[in-house]
């Protein structure tokens, strides 16, 4: 086993790290407060091919591997978890299903501008009554001549108000259960398709999260992704990939909390010496560092397994479960160590804790990850 990054991966890591330090960090606290989507930074990311990092160059991508992409999400999230999820939702949820299941025509029309970052992607599966029970889809798509007519609502959709291209799950045949779900590519501004108000969240505040509303929204028949009835399979496979992205986001948050804490305990003095000299805190730090490193090993392994072509559902679920719980535990401990300062908005620690929580919830809660892992063992 080789635990070293290649020269290429290291150089990509350095570019993301510098970009995050110079472009993302200066606005991170500000956009957390203002909730403003960082459109200018997304444009800059597109300029240097970050938005299409794992897709082949013939489709407008950068042609890098999944691990490079994952490291990118980690580095962005280290400075700002909102930037991390914008990239992850765009690449894994918006663009990847088209890359994996799209026809050549669909790839040409939709994947190329997404991979070039000229357009932004989003993904609609969750509904008011279809969360963890994702199969209970109420959104319908009925065929009418050479069009499908979509009706229904999707909620909590990342990038909703700023995306151009949406992957939408809808029932084409309710009688078939999960096999009656199909996936569609829907363009923004299609008549009958609107988005709701921006959600007011606990964290990742500048990420644009909204409801999607379909009222007799007509889309061309050729915008069916894959075949009719393949939607649930496409959604689950898409989420397998997305989970590695969210795991990387959680990892970035956790690493930042650890680094900030290490710095703080060396500087902060109580009882006449730096608090890092107290064994109690040394043990906390050791536990935090060990958790972060084990999360990193699982996350990187899931990315490498995906690229190997082998099944990676279990690895992705384990990575997300471990990394998101690590993010929550480590940021919680960091706030505790910072004490009153950790609770104040002047320091980044409280933002890290608020941002960490969502990683245990979206793209499958921790409980869903356990269902996936146990399911693979008890088959």
């Amino acid at each position: 086993m080789d635990f070293k990054l290649s020269d290429q991966q290291k150089m990509i890591q350095t570019v993301f790290r510098k970009f995050a330090e110079k472009e993302v960090d200066p606005i991170a606290a500000e956009i957390d407060e203002s909730c403003e989507f960082p459109a200018e930074n997304v444009r800059k990311m597109a300029e240097i091919d970050m938005m299409g990092i794992p897709f082949p160059q013939k489709y407008g991508g950068a042609g890098a591997d999944t691990l490079s992409y994952i490291i990118g999400v980690e580095e962005l999230s280290y400075r700002c978890a909102t930037h991390g999820v914008i990239l992850s939702a765009h690449v894994s949820l918006g663009a990847h299903p088209i890359y994996k299941y799209g026809t050549e025509e669909q790839k040409e029309k939709y994947l190329v501008p997404l991979a070039k970052g000229e357009k932004l992607g989003a993904f609609g599966l969750t509904e008011p009554n279809a969360g963890t029970d994702a199969a209970s889809q109420n959104t319908t798509a009925e065929i009418d001549g050479d069009q499908y007519v979509l009706n229904g609502n999707k909620i909590f959709i990342t990038n909703a108000g700023v995306a151009d291209t949406f992957i939408i799950m809808a029932m084409t045949d309710k009688s078939k259960g999960t096999r009656g779900i199909s996936a569609f590519i829907v363009e923004k501004d299609t008549p009958g398709f609107t988005v709701g108000k921006k959600e007011d969240k606990m964290g990742i505040n500048a990420s644009d999260t909204r409801e999607l509303i379909f009222q007799n929204c007509r889309i061309p028949k050729e915008n069916l992704l894959g075949k009719e009835g393949m939607g649930f399979k496409i959604a689950m496979a898409t989420l397998d990939g997305g989970r590695i992205g969210i795991a990387a986001q959680a990892l970035g948050i956790a690493q930042r909390a650890l680094d900030e804490t290490v710095k703080y305990v060396k500087e902060r003095e109580q009882f006449g010496r730096p608090i890092g000299k107290f064994q109690g805190l040394q043990w906390y730090i050791a536990e935090m560092a060990t958790k972060v490193e084990s999360a990193r090993n699982l996350v990187y392994k899931a990315a490498v397994t995906k690229d190997s072509g082998e099944s990676f559902s279990t690895e992705a679920a384990m990575a997300k479960l471990k990394a998101s719980e690590t993010a929550m535990e480590v940021t919680n401990k960091a706030v505790q160590i910072f004490g009153g300062y950790g609770y104040m908005k002047e320091y980044p620690i409280e933002r890290l804790m608020r941002d960490a929580k969502i990683t245990e919830i979206y793209e499958g809660t921790s409980e869903v990850q356990k269902m996936v892992i146990a399911g693979s063992l008890l088959r």
């Binding site: 290649s6 020269d7 290429q8 150089m11 990509i12 570019v15 510098k18 970009f19 300029e47 240097i48 091919d49 970050m50 990092i53 160059q57 991508g61 950068a62 042609g63 890098a64 490079s68």
Partner: protein, 261 residues
């Protein structure tokens, strides 16, 4: 238009530590980077290429690991990269370095512009650029903070200690640039992938271009380093005593002897 950029791989001095006993840099664990002002040179060259067409060739002298710096330059938009790497080049001072690079540039030939960073953050001499210009018998513009290309001419702003001067000269010309000239772009991800998957870096040894073997490396270098050490910062205080007149006279004498006044 053919633009050549000379770059140097240097230790990132933000993270460098000094071995107090040996007086040398601790290189272990210190990342290597493209010398910052050389990056400004790459940016200047690539943006001129984007505007006027042509090609950008980056050239560096150093051990094989300097290829990493050249790959980054390719990922920033350079078209070709040459690494001058040979045991006989080792230990070169600025004179021998400039000689070796000049000979390589002669081999490349047909150039219109040569960009160098003003100086490297490890040596701080600011000598290599001007020496290359002298060797090639070229016009040179140093300490440049702004450059414009007008037909066959270059217009540049040179920063001086007090103020600046604007100069125009014919091509070909060698320009050493300051950090203020531009904001270097990030290496693109696609560029990084391409730089690692295509073989755009040529390695030239002393056999690959015309050189006088007596002018290479440590032995041919007029500058020889006998010792490196960390200067001691000792704060010495002295209290002058006596009458006010005596103290003032004494103080003035001391300041004069130290060349302070």
């Amino acid at each position: 238009m053919k633009i050549i950029v000379c770059i140097k791989q240097v230790p990132d001095t933000n993270e460098v530590k000094i071995d107090q006993d040996k007086g040398t840099l601790i290189r272990e664990g210190v990342p290597s980077i493209i010398n910052p002002e050389d990056k400004n040179g790459i940016e200047a060259a690539v943006s001129l290429k984007e505007k006027f067409g042509g090609e950008v060739i980056v050239i560096s002298m150093g051990p094989p690991q300097a290829k990493v710096a050249l790959k980054e330059a390719l990922a920033m938009g350079a078209d070709e990269a040459i690494l001058l790497s040979d045991r006989t080049f080792a230990g070169s001072d600025t004179w021998a370095t400039a000689y070796t690079i000049s000979q390589a540039i002669k081999e490349i030939g047909d150039y219109d512009l040569i960009f160098c960073g003003r100086q490297a953050i490890d040596g701080d001499t600011a000598q290599v650029g001007p020496q290359i210009a002298e060797n090639l018998n070229l016009n040179q513009l140093t300490y440049v903070s702004k450059v414009e290309l007008l037909d066959e001419k270059v217009k540049a702003r040179r920063e001086l200690e007090q103020g600046y001067s604007e100069l125009e000269t014919k091509l070909p010309v060698l320009i050493t640039v300051l950090e203020s000239i531009n904001k270097p772009r990030y290496a693109s991800i696609k560029g990084i992938v391409d730089a690692h998957t295509t073989q755009k870096i040529k390695i030239w040894t002393a056999d690959d271009f015309e050189v006088d073997m007596d002018k290479l490396g440590l032995d041919a270098s007029p500058t020889q380093v006998h010792e490196t050490f960390v200067p001691k910062h000792e704060k010495r205080g002295e209290i002058l005593e006596g009458s006010y007149e005596d103290i003032v006279d004494n103080l003035i004498k001391k300041l004069r002897s130290e060349n302070v006044v």
